[in-house]
Symmetry: C2
Subunit: 110 residues, 2 copies
């Protein structure tokens, strides 16, 4: 764990949340199968989400029409739909508006 980027995981407050948002963002760069997505999340968050986390989330995103899927061999490649791309923009805007201040303050100190 943690060899790529992640500092200590905080014990203080729960850092759950925004998984679907994060997945959409990852898929916006490149279509991937479930394990690849999980690996991307590990690089960023320091812990690889398990099958019980990742597949229900992908299923829900599919149900909402935000991602599509295509079976290739044993892999299922997920990709962002047009609808997903539009919604991701909205979500990014919202996210940056909500948390931007925390970011900027942190970067000033670095």
């Amino acid at each position: 764990m943690n060899e790529e980027c992640c500092p200590e995981t905080p014990k203080c407050c729960d850092m759950r949340g925004l998984l679907s948002f994060h997945i959409l963002w990852i898929l916006s760069r490149k279509s991937m199968n479930g394990q690849e997505i999980a690996e991307e999340l590990r690089k960023r968050k320091g812990a690889k989400p398990t099958a019980g986390t990742i597949y229900p989330a992908l299923k829900e995103l599919r149900n909402k029409g935000l991602v599509g899927m295509e079976k290739i061999g044993r892999a299922t490649v997920y990709s962002l739909s047009e609808e997903g791309r539009k919604e991701l923009q909205t979500a990014c805007k919202y996210f940056c508006s909500v948390f931007g201040e925390i970011f900027h303050e942190y970067e000033e100190k670095s």
Copy 2:
């Protein structure tokens, strides 16, 4: 709603999460009572969390020793403890490491 800062709330993916983190950050700037904290969250997120959201979260943070409280009249003023301040630093570092990329890309486009 939304008169101060917030763009459209995304329907796509759930933007729940990081409430405790956000509260710690708010308290790091200024000690406040519950309603003031809720109002700060409204300014940032566009929707004011209700009593059933805010007080359980504050109770949990108190249980963890991250915030202290002092009754002043009918208000209960919450403040960051030393422990809370330390943990907030860890959490900020983690948060920025996880989501920094999304931020930077968004700001480049603006």
